[in-house]
Symmetry: C2
Subunit: 373 residues, 2 copies
Amino acid sequence: MQTVRVELGDRAYPILIGRGLISKAESFLPYLGTPSSQSSPSSHASKVAAIVTNTTVAGWYLKPLSALLEASGVRVVEIILPDGEEHKHWQTLNRIHDALLEARCDRKVTLIALGGGVIGDLAGFAAATYQRGVPFIQVPTTLLAQVDSSVGGKTGINHALGKNMIGAFHQPRAVIADLATLDTLPERELKAGMAEVVKHGFIRDEAYVGFLEKNMSRLLAHDADALAHAIRRSVEIKAEIVAVDEREQGLRAVLNFGHTFGHGIEAAMGYGVWLHGEAVAAGMALAADLSQRMGLIDSAAVERVRALIAAAGLPVAPPRIEPARFIDLMTHDKKSSGGKVHYILLDAIGRAGVRGDVPDSLVLQTLAASPPV
Amino acid sequence: MQTVRVELGDRAYPILIGRGLISKAESFLPYLGTPSSQSSPSSHASKVAAIVTNTTVAGWYLKPLSALLEASGVRVVEIILPDGEEHKHWQTLNRIHDALLEARCDRKVTLIALGGGVIGDLAGFAAATYQRGVPFIQVPTTLLAQVDSSVGGKTGINHALGKNMIGAFHQPRAVIADLATLDTLPERELKAGMAEVVKHGFIRDEAYVGFLEKNMSRLLAHDADALAHAIRRSVEIKAEIVAVDEREQGLRAVLNFGHTFGHGIEAAMGYGVWLHGEAVAAGMALAADLSQRMGLIDSAAVERVRALIAAAGLPVAPPRIEPARFIDLMTHDKKSSGGKVHYILLDAIGRAGVRGDVPDSLVLQTLAASPPV
């Protein structure tokens, strides 16, 4: 097992990476139970965990995990939600709150988010808002969630007018990334997760881009050593950025490389038609093209971005979206500021920055130059 | 104008107390606008304020405030909600989010909660969760909100299974308590606010209890000097407690004196039938009786509690609720822990503490000894 620590003062937490972690009670027990409290003389009450998962993941991992925790004396509440991004909204969030209240969970309950990014966002936001905040543990079961969404404390739900518009920053007590869970991950989802992996290289570490260029076929073939290295390095990069800028006031915005275009694609297509990683992949290709038009990088760098995305089996062009509508959807994105879209562009392979001065005309050129898939 | 500061490190904020504050743009302008941001080179965009209020308060104060801010170059979005505790739920919260998105407000918007406790809780929770958190200003227009709910960062909504079950801690940037707004406050609501005023005395300051005993008739007659003193002293007591224990891990629980019984009353009657302050008043009388049964205070102290509550024109006994149901409703209250109800009891007039060891038999005696009103 390897551990990467996210340094956030009194909200610091570890990310555990290894094979078989969710089959050991010791992975969970230190992070369950009562926060320090002067007001409860009777803290001998047993620990309570509410496992939030979806119908798909439940079939694989819920019963073994429940049994494991119950054997350690933990009271377990199971909350099974429908599977899919289209359920990441108020009504599903309410189901978590309803279940917690029906099970009479108090502030000492710890939520366990067992699933991919949608489950992590929903369970994390439920934890942020249940009785004004209870602890939670992320147990990401997709590559995307392991390298990205489960690290950094962003939680939330979608709104008809935009993705992730309602939410909170709420840091988990721990992230438990079990490589074994990737064995059951569909091919398409593994590739989608790879979008965030290559993103971490593009924005922060050219050497890591080199590693990914050499090892992409091993990664897609589930090579254990290659995956362990990629997950660790991606998580280190994300943890480092989040530690500097927890609430996305500055540096953290670079993690949105590919996401402004990507959210536009997801909003245009309807959430869930393109996977998040697929939309981000096409978004990164567009952002690289735009970086060149802004004079920041040369065509060889753009080609390198596109080639690695393609090697990961991901799209390098968006679906057919009318350009004016595409731009309109992006101005609704929360990364926009004062109605002006802020783009994350590359200054080099391995270095990204935020630009608020990109003319729409160049964006239109980029969209025109990328034939839709 | 007087200022009381809530000391919360980088979340510290002032409470401004005075007459006519909401008629001056200077009361608001320092607290509007962009949080420090490294990522937005173009922060010359004008300030945006979204005023959240209800149909009743809007009639008195909305247009003048909007005009005042617009005259200072602030873009104003008006969000008018139905009036009443029965609307403090998901659907109303969603209306705020919908309006903010429809007006294309980004993270730089500042919400202004213009109204009583319900508006403060709703607008505060909307601010806590809109795009993962935007700033807000509390402009409490009831005595209850001025001395209690607008100070301390508690925000949230009700759930069918319990009051304030969903919410967040989100500190305002400032609280602007304008005494002039109490001129339009109905008599019954002034009295209900007085419940929290006397509570602050009971839990923390016997000398303040003495002041309230001497001046209750002046306070109920809207005497300006008496009200200004009471609001200031109540806010000081609350600010002091919140500064020590922002997230209710210990000391802050004493602010719930009267609230465990009170929430039981509100839940049993249906929210809004008894005003919050009325339920808390009866709850304090019950808690005082229970304190005596636990051997903590004598009957003279109980009588003093009841007399001051009665002098404020508030009930000293609960409505008719079947005792087993009353206790059941209290175990659903979030102040319960591991299924065990924690009661805030008086160790003396001016000193409260949390007790987790109260036998149900004594609670039943207290309920039996308080003939319902």
